[in-house]
């Protein structure tokens, strides 16, 4: 019988992304140039946000050989005034895939800094040029690296490393990549423009391959409050995550060697002199509260073994069988396995079970998740059909799945903590819209935080009408975590909600000059694709979008009707001024009078009152 020998190779993350680069938005020279710009600009903004620095971001794209036709190599440089990166981290941060500083649970534009490395990888495979990184984290010394990626080993190769003196912190990343600016230019300019709308506290400059400069100066001087890093919400968790959390909460039985015995001796404050088992236990009891965990475990073991240090030195703990209350050990002297019973009433027994079996379920819940109190934890245990004091370490695989399912289903958990979110805020958003569109009407709303699958999110939305806005609306500006979304808008949930709105109901008709700005903030945006361009229609998000849009639409509607009324009043005043004198003229002859009736005063009063109405309406409109 022939056997087929299969060979399994482990591939490095770099290699994986190299062969799947389409997923991350590097499918062709046009899209890749745009994606690379996005990744570096977003990293720069994220870095500044984290340290509360007002960002100055400088983006340059220059063709290596301007006379060549597209697609061709371009040098893309993004420079910021952020905190920089320490020299020791630079090679790993820019020379390996899956190395980053953004692993906590909070809102950021990108996750893990993966995209930037992808851009570097794409640059390297299309032009074979290293990435140039200039960074100063102390504002005195700048480290300059030229780095290549070893794709197979997922390791950086430092081509060059120099330093020089500088006066400011900041990071500059420069890559050479194959791109098509003639096709991507429009999107990149839109991206910079739209980014400056949602990041009004940043100054963005774009120096393009045709030496055209696009400068967007900050018009808000305050950075919105930064998000905090928080514990996960039970709804946003899966079995694997629980397993890892349990491992974190469990402790190994320490290996009792000479060093350990020495440590226990020291912590108990015992001198070198020999002590009996009883006196050791007495000493330990008196100092118990101040003892570190490892020492407590050793003392607990000793209490059941009834051994002093000398004897302890001659055995090895094999197993602590909590359920059968037995302690197994190997005796080197007799070369055989032995066991002793453990008294479940003793405090030492508790200490050992804690260590071996992990925390009780309720402690696990309150300590490791956000916003769960002791009483909720007990209620949940009942709901999930676990004993509240059940040790996490004793859960079987099946029980873990049951726990995970119950965590998803239990409805009495509080809504996820939204302090990890960083919405822009209604005021800066309104300022931005006013500055960009100079509209006749603007309304903004920030919805209260909500959650889908345990991930908190906040919807911010603005609506503007008239002014410099082009007709043919509504034009929708989509943002997610302060990133403009420019591609694939057809399948986006925001577009879906906008398109399903019957604008006639809100007195918006024809091809109105009308824009909608939508911003979804979340610790995890449910993108439909890895390209991060369209948001999936999660029911909870769709609902919040709808509520936000309805709220704003009603305001728009009242503006439109006020505007309609004021137009009507103007029209009425004109009509009176035109027709009443005619009626007066005709009826004078008809009635056989010589002199016209005395109607002028009435007409003036009426027109004045209509004009006053117009002014009143305009005042109201301004205060909406």
């Amino acid at each position: 019988m022939a056997s087929i020998e299969e060979k399994f190779n482990q591939i490095s993350p770099s290699e994986f992304f190299y062969s799947n680069r389409d997923l991350a938005g590097f499918s062709n020279p046009t899209r890749s140039l745009y994606t690379a710009v996005r990744e570096f600009v977003e990293n720069a903004l994220d870095a500044c946000d984290q340290k509360g620095i007002l960002p100055d971001v400088y983006l340059t794209i220059k063709a290596v050989d301007p006379d060549k036709p597209d697609p061709k190599p371009y040098i893309l440089t993004v420079k910021d005034n952020g905190p920089g990166i320490d020299a020791e981290h630079i090679p790993l941060a820019f020379g390996t895939v899956l190395y980053g500083s953004k692993f906590g649970l909070k809102q950021a534009r990108g996750m893990f800094g993966l995209g930037a490395t992808m851009a570097i990888l794409y640059g390297q495979i299309t032009t074979n040029q290293p990435v140039t990184v200039k960074s100063s984290s102390d504002g005195k010394i700048q480290n300059q690296f030229e780095i290549l990626l070893d794709i197979q080993k997922n390791k950086p190769i430092i081509v060059k490393h120099t330093t020089k003196e500088v006066t400011k912190t900041g990071l500059s990343v420069s890559i050479c990549l194959e791109g098509d600016y003639s096709k991507a230019g429009g999107k990149i300019r839109d991206y910079v423009y739209e980014t400056s709308l949602i990041t009004p506290y940043a100054s963005l400059t774009f120096d393009d391959p045709k030496d055209e400069k696009f400068t967007h100066t900050r018009f808000v001087k305050e950075i919105p409050p930064p998000p905090t890093i928080i514990r996960p919400h039970p709804h946003g968790i899966d079995v694997e995550r629980i397993r890892r959390m349990i491992v974190e909460s469990q402790f190994e039985i320490p290996i009792i060697d000479d060093a350990m015995i020495e440590k226990v001796r020291k912590d108990l404050g015992l001198s070198v002199k020999k002590l009996s088992f009883t006196s050791i236990m007495e000493k330990a009891k008196s100092k118990w509260k101040n003892l570190p965990r490892q020492v407590r475990v050793v003392v607990s073991l000793m209490s059941f073994l009834k051994m002093d240090f000398e004897k302890l030195n001659k055995i090895k703990i094999e197993d602590i069988d909590v359920s059968n209350k037995k302690l197994f050990y190997w005796d080197f002297g007799d070369s055989q396995s032995k066991s002793v019973d453990m008294d479940p009433e003793s405090m030492y027994y508790k200490q050992l079970t804690n260590t071996v079996q992990g925390e009780p379920l309720t402690t696990f819940l309150t300590k490791r998740f956000q916003r769960i109190g002791p009483s909720t934890a007990v209620k949940f245990a009942e709901f999930a059909k676990f004993k509240p004091e059940r040790r996490m370490g004793t859960l079987t695989n099946q029980e873990l799945v049951q726990l995970s399912d119950s965590l998803q289903k239990f409805e009495d958990f509080m809504a996820p903590d939204s302090s990890c979110l960083a919405p822009l805020g209604a005021e800066p958003l309104e300022k931005g819209i006013k500055k960009f569109f100079n509209p006749d009407f603007v309304a903004v709303v920030q919805r209260p935080a909500s959650a889908y699958s345990g991930f908190p999110f906040i919807i911010e939305m603005g609506i503007a009408y008239g002014g410099d806005i082009k007709s043919g609306g509504p034009h929708v500006y989509r943002y997610a975590n302060r990133i403009p979304l420019l591609y694939d808008e057809g399948s986006d949930v925001v577009l879906k909600v906008v398109n399903e709105t019957d604008w006639g109901r809100y007195k918006v008709k024809g091809e109105p000059p009308f824009i909608i700005v939508s911003h979804i903030c979340s610790t995890r945006i449910p993108y439909k694709t890895a390209g991060k361009e369209n948001v999936a229609d999660r029911q909870e998000i769709e609902r919040e979008l709808r509520l936000a849009l309805q709220f704003l639409s009603r305001k728009l509607s009242s503006f439109m009707s006020k505007r309609g009324q004021s137009e009507m009043a103007k029209k009425r005043a004109n009509l009176y001024a035109k027709y009443i004198p005619m009626i007066a003229e005709f009826c004078t002859e008809l009635s056989g009078n010589k002199k016209q009736p005395n109607y002028k005063k009435m007409l003036e009063t009426e027109i004045a009152s209509e004009i006053k109405k117009v002014e009143d309406e305009e005042n109201i409109i301004e205060t909406i």
Partner: protein, 374 residues
């Protein structure tokens, strides 16, 4: 015996006084409307007046009057209401213009009105808008537009032994016999306002078509059947209906109608008899005793007339008329049902199949005889 000159003079005077009185009444009425509006304005108020509603829901059939009339619904038209201001102004202008026409005894046409408005900066979108305002004036004053010297363009004609005497300016006292000109006389403002002096005729035949009218004159139907022949030119214009009514009321002549053998022909006769819904705001336009003698649907079979099939529109019209209260009994209902059954129609000219004079030699005498029993 020929009346003496003196007698004649006094007659003319009496007639012209009658015309003067009528003119005076109209002018006074217009003036009073004008005065009300003038006073409103003078008192610092937006003038307004009420106008009978001409909507379908307010048009009802009056069995006693045997015509459609307007119900009691009225709408207030106010110059304060900006959506009514324009039509309000148009209507005041029209009253003002009608006042001038009546005063100066000048006549005008519907189209004239449309163009005249432009000299006064009164805007009408098109003639149908100005026509509509004219109907408004009729409704407000309960007077036909002809009373304000406004006439439609379409003319029908009349032929037969009838002496008339003009009352229009420049022709006062002049007489005319309407059998003098074989093409007939067109029924215009001067004829409708003329005095009907005398006639030897014993019946009025209203016929739908000009071609048959000419044939009837040629065949001397007027003499043979002692009749006055009127060509209605399709649906009879108001002036013609007014004249028909006067011939019936003043000269005591019976009126019969001869139309094409189709649903439209039947309705032409009905409108002469009992008016149209469009003119529900007006009385004095109907001849309730008028009779429709043909061509009936039953005639088509009886006289074996060449026919053409009814169109979809024809059939729909039949069903529409079936709902009309005037078509609920008698010959009107019977013939309508037959039209619907045979779904064919025949024109007056169809008789030519049996010779050009067949209609006057055979058909007409039979029908005239029949009319007596209707």
């Amino acid at each position: 015996m020929k009346p003496s000159k003196k007698e004649q003079d006094s007659k003319i005077k009496a007639r012209s006084k009658k015309a003067d009185d009528k003119q005076k009444t109209i002018l006074e009425m217009l003036q009073s409307h004008g005065a009300k509006i003038y006073d409103d304005l003078d008192n610092g108020q937006f003038p307004k007046f009420s106008i009978p509603s001409r909507s379908v829901s307010n048009i009802v059939y009056d069995k006693k009057l045997r015509q459609y009339i307007l119900g009691n619904n009225a709408a207030l038209r106010s110059s304060r209401n900006s959506s009514q201001l324009r039509s309000f102004t148009q209507l005041i202008w029209l009253a003002f213009f009608a006042n001038r026409l009546t005063n100066e005894r000048k006549s005008s046409t519907l189209r004239d009105i449309y163009y005249s408005s432009q000299a006064f900066a009164v805007e009408f979108e098109d003639q149908s808008e100005s026509d509509n305002i004219i109907v408004d004036l009729e409704a407000v004053t309960s007077r036909a537009r002809e009373d304000f010297h406004i006439f439609p363009e379409e003319r029908s004609s009349i032929f037969g032994d009838l002496n008339i005497e003009y009352t229009i300016p420049g022709y006062e006292g002049k007489t005319m016999n309407l059998a003098n000109h074989p093409d007939g006389y067109s029924i215009g403002p001067s004829l409708t306002t003329a005095e009907l002096v005398d006639t030897s005729a014993e019946i009025v035949i209203a016929i739908e078509k000009g071609g048959l009218f000419t044939r009837f004159v040629e065949e001397q139907v007027d003499k043979k059947f002692k009749s006055i022949i009127i060509n209605t030119g399709g649906q009879a214009p108001r002036s013609t209906r007014t004249l028909l009514k006067r011939l019936h009321d003043e000269m005591k002549l019976p009126v019969i109608c001869l139309t094409d053998g189709d649903v439209y022909g039947e309705h032409i006769a009905m409108v002469i008899k009992s008016g149209s819904a469009n003119a529900a705001h007006l009385r004095e336009l109907t001849v309730p005793d008028a009779k429709w003698v043909g061509v009936w649907a039953t005639d088509i079979e009886k006289y074996k007339l060449p026919t053409i099939p009814m169109t979809e529109a024809d059939i729909k019209r039949c069903y529409d008329l079936q709902k009309d209260p005037r078509y609920q009994d008698g010959i009107w209902k019977k013939e309508l049902d037959v039209f619907l059954r045979i779904k064919r129609k025949a024109e007056l000219e169809a008789f030519s199949k049996y010779g050009l004079t067949n209609i006057t030699d055979k058909y007409l005498p039979q029908k005239l005889e029949l009319a007596k029993s209707l």
